[in-house]
């Protein structure tokens, strides 16, 4: 992009055009998001679960756009750029991590309709008959969501900073984008999230394909010639697991797959679907969203032999676009696409985590009584608090985005045994599930602090899950031998 145009307020003409296109996108989001919740009721179920009335189109985009985040648009090309084929683990875990939802989603939805659940923790605690577990799950979810949300805010800030030639700093870019998210989440709840996700999903898929095919063509003459050229110069990047180890590749894939199938903000969409068929069709068509990762990979690989390296791997795409002398409108469109990817995940996360903290932490675990209107008001207050905490983390965190996401998966993966027992188990010992979950989470947090203690360099979430399941089995045996009257 040419940057030597006339300067207004320190910004070149091109930077103004980029900012203008991004601003138009933000206004579009705001308009769609504010109108999205018009038909939902004023109740907590309306705000959190959209009155259990989401149809197939909305569900498809809600799930797809929620999954594809700033991580997909920035960190994935960054990983392809630095580590080559290591990035293919993202297709693997995303593909198989959602299959369990085909069976678990409809079961959860039925339990929700029968017993009024609208969150994952509420369902697990209710089905296992142990209310305190909802509090633990709420806390763990919120603690895992904060870095995930921070990642989205940081991603938005990075894009805006790079594409406005550093004139709009990261902290300001992130703040403006998430002020828009805050506005429509507060006003419209899950339906605002849903309809903006349709808008954002179409935008980011279209742009990813356009850039993913165009960049290899422009730089190498096509996708095939690009890979042939990389194979001549850096062949190690095209064989899995790229420059990473197989231990890293498999353990990152497994923990992400498990964590992905347990993510509370995705799982609780089971309570928003209109019926079981809608849920199943969402899972069936989900791989059509996954194919969107291919152009994202192509973008990262296109940067491998780019003459001038980017300042950081996550900036490989904005860096290439800025160096290619493209029309400012095209760069602005990319900016909008990257913001869409981050915001479509950020809105779902902040809405889900606030709902979980109020519904599970406050109402279910602590036993407070709130009217529907009070519950809705408190969810909104927590939306603001969580957004602020994540924003502070995003501004002050210096590490890379992938490790931030991999940290979040570990504690969330500890929910898996509880979810399976709640939905499929014949004997549901809530106390045992709760103790095992706490043990798993404690190991995750401990190994994150002291990674050198992790056996064979495995992801801390996997070690935690192994302990979680072992404790569950051990307690199952002990407590089965204990008379019910003597149990906790």
């Amino acid at each position: 992009m040419a940057s030597e145009g006339q300067l207004f307020f320190g910004l070149s003409t091109d930077a103004w055009i980029v900012s203008g296109v991004s601003l138009l996108y933000l206004l579009g989001c705001l308009w769609v998001g504010m109108r999205g919740g018009r038909d939902a009721s004023d109740s907590a179920v309306g705000y959190v679960a959209g009155d259990r009335a989401m149809g197939p189109l909305l569900m498809y985009f809600v799930i797809g756009a929620t999954v594809f985040s700033a991580f997909s648009f920035l960190a994935t090309p960054g990983l392809a750029y630095t580590s080559g084929a290591a990035v293919f683990y993202v297709i693997g875990y995303g593909l198989v991590g959602f299959i369990p939802f085909y069976f678990l989603g409809p079961r959860a939805a039925r339990a929700g309709r029968d017993r009024g659940y609208i969150t994952q923790a509420e369902m697990v605690a209710g089905e296992c008959g142990h209310r305190a577990m909802a509090g633990t799950m709420a806390l763990v979810s919120a603690l895992s969501f904060v870095p995930y949300l921070a990642l989205q805010i940081k991603g938005a800030g990075l894009v805006v900073e790079r594409l406005t030639e550093g004139h709009v700093p990261q902290w300001l870019g992130g703040a403006v984008c998430y002020a828009v998210v805050l506005a429509y989440v507060l006003k419209s709840g899950v339906m605002g999230v849903g309809w903006t996700n349709v808008f954002q999903g179409i935008l980011m898929m279209g742009l990813a394909w356009a850039f993913g095919l165009w960049l290899p063509y422009k730089l190498y003459g096509g996708v095939g010639p690009m890979f042939e050229r990389i194979y001549e110069v850096k062949p190690e990047l095209l064989s899995a697991p790229g420059t990473k180890s197989w231990q890293w590749f498999i353990s990152a894939g497994i923990i992400s797959m498990i964590g992905f199938s347990c993510w509370p903000h995705l799982f609780m969409k089971a309570f928003s679907a209109r019926d079981d068929r809608t849920l199943r069709r969402t899972v069936v068509f989900y791989p059509t969203f996954m194919i969107f990762l291919v152009p994202i990979f192509l973008i990262g690989f296109a940067g491998v032999l780019f003459p001038v390296p980017p300042p950081s791997p996550e900036q490989v795409l904005p860096h290439m676009l800025m160096s290619l002398d493209l029309p400012a409108v095209v760069v602005g469109l990319f900016c909008a696409g990257a913001l869409a990817a981050g915001m479509s995940t950020g809105d779902a996360i902040v809405h889900a985590s606030a709902s979980i903290l109020v519904r599970d932490g406050w109402i279910t675990a602590l036993g407070r009584k709130l009217t529907s209107t009070e519950e809705r008001r408190w969810v909104r207050i927590f939306v603001v608090i969580l957004m602020l905490v994540s924003y502070v983390l995003a501004v002050f965190y210096e590490g890379d985005l992938v490790s931030l996401l991999l940290y979040a998966y570990g504690p969330i993966a500890q929910f898996l045994p509880g979810i399976l027992i709640a939905l499929c188990g014949r004997r549901r010992d809530g106390v045992a599930v709760h103790i095992a979950m706490l043990a798993g989470v404690a190991v995750c947090v401990g190994l994150k602090a002291f990674p050198e203690w992790s056996p064979y360099g495995l992801h801390e979430g996997l070690v935690g899950l192994a302990l979680n399941v072992s404790v569950l089995f051990a307690l199952g045996f002990v407590r089965r031998a204990t008379p019910v009257s003597a149990r906790a």
Binding site: I91, G224, L238, M257, R277, R280
Partner: protein, 86 residues
């Protein structure tokens, strides 16, 4: 197999579709997340439609899982409809 033969094999109470779907999903997991990737899908060559084999492997499984989900959902829907009809 004739359509009538297929109907006999995949009738409403048949366990075969469940077994096939479970096996296919387990195989997909082994091949894209587990060591199957290392054993069979890791190589850069041959190039398939311009993509390195390691990427074509993952994309191939993506298409295969989509097809299997599509067929399984159709069968589930067919079972539900025929149950409702009775």
């Amino acid at each position: 197999m004739s359509p009538a033969g297929l109907q006999r094999v995949f009738h409403r109470r048949s366990k075969l579709p469940h077994v096939l779907f479970a096996l296919h999903s387990a195989l997909a997991t082994l091949c894209v997340v587990g060591p199957g990737y290392k054993w069979w899908g890791a190589s850069a060559q041959p190039f398939v439609l311009g993509l390195p084999f390691s990427l074509a492997w993952a994309v191939g499984w993506l298409i295969s899982v989509f097809a299997s989900l599509l067929l399984y959902e159709r069968w589930t829907r067919h079972c539900e409809d025929s149950e409702r009809g009775e």
